[in-house]
Amino acid sequence: MNAFKDAGHLFRLVGVFLAGILLFLVLRGFLVPKSFGQYGHYRGNALAEIAARPVNFAGHETCEGCHTDVLEKKKDGKHARVNCEACHGPLARHADDPASVTPEKLDTAVLCVRCHEANAAKPKSFPQVVSADHSNGLACDTCHQPHSPVIAAVAEGAK
């Protein structure tokens, strides 16, 4: 019995520790979000939050839903597999509200050379021109229609 004679302060110490552990658990309950650990060592809700961002590029399927005439023009041309927004830019807002959001008119002088200006690093099979020598300053769409860029007269001649 002598061994426990002065043990009172030890019990108090244990009490303090238990209170500390309890406080830790309570604080932890407050601070750790419920979804933490749902899939792994991170907040599971972060996935849904990142996925909730609005889109800016509508995707070509959305465009083609309305602009079937353009799809018809494109389908046999060299640009058949170039998606709409590759040239026209992000237009999800236009797709959501076609009446009030209208796309800007594009400038072929800027747009065409982005891809077709000659550069030694481009694949050799890709059609390239030195724009300064190619058109005498004429706008590209004087001869080429961007949705089906082959020149009609040339196409006829080849037949």
Binding site: G29, N45, A51, V55, F57, C115, N119, A120, K122, F126
Partner: protein, 243 residues
Amino acid sequence: MNLTRRHLLLLLPAAGAAWKYVLAGTPESSPNYKLTEHWWGMLIDLTKCIGCGNCVRACQAENEVPDGYFRTWVERYHVTDYDIENPQVDSPDGGKHGFPAAKDASGKNFFVPKLCNHCAESPCTQVCPVGATFVSPDGVVLVDKQYCLGCRYCVQACPYGCRFINPKTNTAEKCTLCYHRITKGLTTACCESCPTGARQLADLKNPNDPIHAFLKTHSVQVLKPYMATHAKVFYNGLDGSVR
């Protein structure tokens, strides 16, 4: 009522439990999307890349990437004859506005688009001290902005240089593989705007994805395979000089 210490001790855990429900927030928002049915990656066919910079601009428009920072960018390589260990690489403004004419058209010139490789064994997620970055169950490496401290460990850990600290939020940022798009059935902004089809989003768990046929018939490589990161961005026609 007199609030004693005993009452307080009983009340606190109850309040904690209640607060947990408040913190739980919004549950899964795309009901038709099943995390376990996808394993995302990308295919980049270098034989098709023309260095137009569409992907870089599209990414910045889609994800509000600050000017001068890049979640994807395009590099131009120049290799003289046999000297593949010393390529000259340039990437003016990340290739955002295309590339000027090559200084030296001799030798070998080509473009290499880069982005997060969405490694299955990603070094960047392993070093995060707070669980703010992770590989999602569908194979996309993401950053939880609310949890990120901005300590920059992950920026240093990425062997591909794909991360940066957003100067506005002071948190780590990177390619999300347009997670907000792919979970809605769309392709990424860079793939959507690539005019030549050099970039293709790939779902490696979908047996009907065209990537499987492509991988069977082409010599495909990942960047820095010796880092054993299990990268999921596959390059076709990758030159040995590419770092």
